[in-house]
């Protein structure tokens, strides 16, 4: 096909041909996929609508959520012991009806649906103002890695407990001196005296959910000789193990979103090594990829926030038209940013469905969603004006809390400075410094 097409170009450029029969021009062949000798969905015409089956899935999800989602704001904060358990209970409730991990295979508690259905579920989840996902680190960050690198035994052992939130995971990536420079990890693991596993020693920090989680996944240096990216191993560690100490880190809003974790000769059996000894970097990058890629931030999250922003703007039009006018342009831009993110996600999802993958675009994605989140909340606070500081007020609190959280967006999951390096080097081919 391509050959034929090139042939045409040769002719048409070297000496222009007349408008010959349509079939000289392959792209004028109107036969449907079925009729033509060609790949699967690859040649389906562009169509942004969902299939009847997908719409049915949406209806089912919406109905279930309508019946089960707790009163918005009724659960105590995720970052308190009480709230943590309340959110765990909610995950259990979802899991009971197979809504906690819809895209997983049924054997692990999912519904085995595709990425599009997952996006639809997310739309309904955010529209229903359902609780934050306390299992997020496990479900969105570790699970993709487990599916890719885990043994059958590891999948059986960890996935169902993750789906039901019986075991909640935290992430052990960063260290005090290894933040943006993740390869600077110093925490190490040495063989145990009885050679029945590894002894982990060191300090991890910025572990979200770290204060309450049962399990932790993270990187440790197993080959002190190897340089930077080599000699690291990906471990799955039970937080209850002897030698693990947790120090919660109160954050800017006074709550304890994350924690420091200290390891002192913590014994970890060999079956809790994920993806092979000294292969941790590649294994971890897969997770980092999914963190910045599709799975961490679904468009619905921002679509819903943008919808609320427009509602806030509409109210401001009544209360203080002059103020509303001053921020109209920013409101429109924030809404468009969320919409562009939705479309870009559908575009990427289709590429993945057609067998493609998410490369450095994941970095562009992370820059975009983190800036979109900030733009939406900054604009909302601007519309609230002097009220914006009233963190005790019902209408204000969600925006203010959301803003404080959004402020962390350009920092975690790889700072946006690092992401811009990736975009410049891997998408534009600029040389490393």
């Amino acid at each position: 096909m391509v050959a034929g097409n090139l042939a045409v170009c040769q002719i048409s450029t070297d000496n222009p041909i007349g408008p010959g029969p349509a079939l000289d021009r392959p792209w004028t062949d109107r036969r449907t996929t079925a009729e033509r000798p060609m790949g699967p969905t690859m040649d389906a015409p562009m169509d942004l609508r969902f299939t009847p089956a997908q719409e049915a899935f949406r209806t089912e999800a919406r109905a279930w959520l309508a019946a089960h989602v707790p009163e918005p704001g009724s659960l105590p904060s995720l970052d308190t012991a009480e709230g943590f358990e309340a959110h765990r209970a909610w995950e259990r409730e979802m899991c009971a009806d197979r809504w906690s991990v819809v895209s997983w295979p049924e054997e692990f508690g999912g519904r085995g649906v595709g990425i599009v259905e997952w996006l639809i579920f997310e739309e309904e989840y955010w529209r229903a103002e359902a609780p934050l996902r306390v299992s997020q680190n496990g479900v969105f960050l570790l699970a993709p890695t487990l599916f890719e690198f885990g043994t059958d035994g590891q999948k059986q052992r960890f996935l169902p407990a993750m789906a039901s939130a019986t075991e909640i995971w935290c992430q052990g990536w960063s260290e005090p001196d290894a933040g943006s420079d993740l390869a600077g990890i110093r925490s190490r693991a040495v063989r145990s005296p009885d050679d029945d596993g590894w002894l982990l020693t060191g300090q991890k920090t910025w572990a979200s959910r770290g204060a309450f989680a049962e399990w932790c996944f993270g990187l440790f240096r197993t080959d002190p000789g190897a340089e930077r990216h080599r000699g690291l191993t990906y471990f799955l560690i039970e937080m209850g193990s002897p030698g693990v100490t947790v120090r919660p880190i109160p954050q800017i809003d006074g709550e304890t979103g994350f924690a420091e974790i200290f390891f002192e000769d913590v014994l970890v059996p060999d079956e809790q090594v994920l993806g092979g000894v000294d292969r941790g970097w590649n294994v971890a990058m897969a997770t980092a990829g999914s963190e910045r890629g599709l799975s961490l931030r679904s468009p619905a999250r921002y679509g819903e926030a943008a919808r609320r922003l427009v509602a806030l703007y509409r109210r401001c039009l009544v209360d203080d038209p002059a103020r509303a006018a001053r921020h109209a342009d920013a409101v429109a831009q924030a809404w468009m940013d969320a919409e562009a993110y939705r479309l870009n996600t559908l575009w990427t999802a289709t590429r993945v469905l057609d067998g493609g993958s998410v490369g450095p675009e994941a970095s562009a994605n992370k820059i975009h969603w983190s800036e979109t989140d900030l733009a939406i909340h900054r604009t909302a606070l601007a519309l609230l004006g002097p009220e914006a500081e009233l963190h005790g007020t019902g209408t204000v609190a969600p925006w203010l809390d959301g803003y404080l959280f959004a402020l962390a967006g350009p920092i975690y999951a790889g700072t946006n400075e690092i992401q811009r390096n990736v975009v410049a080097e891997r998408m534009l081919g600029l040389p490393r410094a």
Binding site: C9, G39, T41, L48, R49, A364, R420, L428, P431
Partner: protein, 373 residues
């Protein structure tokens, strides 16, 4: 949900890209700046490839395709700064004629349109007619592509509301107006509305004018995508070659982050433009048949119009940012006539304002979001 171009569409883009790489080099472009024209050998080549007649029904010698098929080609046109009026002729004028000819819904098996319209459609497909299309707004405004156009599609205020007129060059006196980019071939059109030239009035005229503005926004946005990609690419190439302080300037974080910022804007503008093209096709009876038939609801029309504005706002910002960054990365050399960059800067600046600026479209988006109040 399948949000991607078909292999056919990608092949067509690739074919056109290869042709333009040869037929629309920056040397050609500089020549065109010297003596801009509407119909050129390159135009004939594009007609032969089926590009010019893409939106003309098969029965009239075209390909009978829609905006989704055209958008990738407009991107390629933008990438090379194509001087000819592909946008005005194929994205705007032909669809208006098709609509008038009542070919809606059965575009590929076209019944006889009225004689004049049929002839014009055939002439367009054969590369014999280049068009200029008027935007809503002051009739006195200069018209892109007017200088040298064969066919004019012009809105005009009528006794009972807006009207649409179609005239050929003989009936329109054009006085050229100089633009920063000469290949825009701007001109002031002086003409007499007549019963013969009037093709639509009232609601029909209003809808033609509205749909044309939306199609223009998306088509212009598509060209801006190509322009942005070209300017970012030129800057990246230069940043790899140019050395200062003993290393390529592209290895400096300041340069990397300038270009990365522009690239991210472009990445997110693309799907916005593609999605808007699809949405407009869905509301275009002449094309909707291509996809599983969709009833065109008022809601869908509003959403499509909003998508078109989102696309233009995003693409305009992406292209002006790419222009700013690319010039900054080139430094003084980018400020010279010898450097090709200015050929694309000027077109990007002109197109980012044409058919509504980013700010104009943002306010359209917001109005449609809060609805009539």
């Amino acid at each position: 949900m399948h949000f991607a171009f078909t292999e056919q569409q990608n092949e067509f883009r690739e074919a056109v890209r290869q042709v333009l790489a040869k037929e629309c080099t920056t040397d050609h472009l500089r020549a065109a700046h010297g003596s801009p024209a509407a119909r050129t050998p390159r135009w004939a080549t594009l007609a032969d490839l089926g590009v010019v007649g893409l939106s003309v029904p098969v029965a009239h010698g075209g390909l009978g395709l829609g905006l989704v098929d055209l958008v990738p080609l407009l991107e390629e046109a933008g990438r090379v700064g194509l001087p000819e009026p592909l946008l005005e002729t194929t994205a705007l004028a032909a669809p208006v004629l098709v609509g008038l000819a009542g070919l809606g819904g059965s575009i590929r098996s076209a019944p006889g349109a009225d004689a004049a319209t049929s002839l014009r459609l055939e002439s367009i497909a054969a590369g014999g007619m280049a068009a200029a299309v008027g935007a809503p707004g002051p009739v006195s405004a200069p018209l892109a592509g007017a200088d040298g156009a064969d066919l004019f599609v012009l809105p005009a205020p009528g006794a009972d509301g807006p009207e649409v007129h179609v005239l050929e060059s003989g009936a329109v006196a054009v006085s050229p107006v100089s633009s920063l980019d000469p290949t825009r071939r701007l001109g002031l059109a002086r003409w007499e509305p007549s019963p013969e030239s009037r093709v639509a009035t009232g609601a029909l005229a209003a809808s033609i004018i509205g749909q044309t503005a939306d199609r223009a926004a998306v088509a212009t946005a598509a060209e801006l995508l190509g322009l942005a990609d070209r300017m970012i690419g030129m800057a990246a190439d230069y940043a790899r070659e140019r050395h200062q302080f003993g290393k390529p300037i592209g290895s400096f974080q300041a340069v990397k982050h300038l270009l990365a910022g522009a690239q991210v804007k472009l990445e997110f503008a693309r799907p916005a433009v593609y999605g808007a093209a699809w949405a407009l096709d869905q509301t275009d009876p002449a094309v909707a048949a291509a996809a599983p038939v969709a009833a065109v609801t008022a809601v869908a029309a509003v959403a499509a119009s909003r998508a078109a504005s989102t696309a233009k706002a995003y693409a305009s910002d992406a292209a002006t940012e790419a222009a700013r960054v690319s010039l900054q990365v080139h430094g003084a050399i980018g400020y010279t006539w010898e450097c090709d960059l200015h050929l694309f800067l000027k077109r990007a600046w002109a197109l980012s304002e044409a058919w509504g600026s980013a700010a104009d479209h943002r306010s359209r988006v917001l109005s449609s979001l809060i609805g009539p109040s």
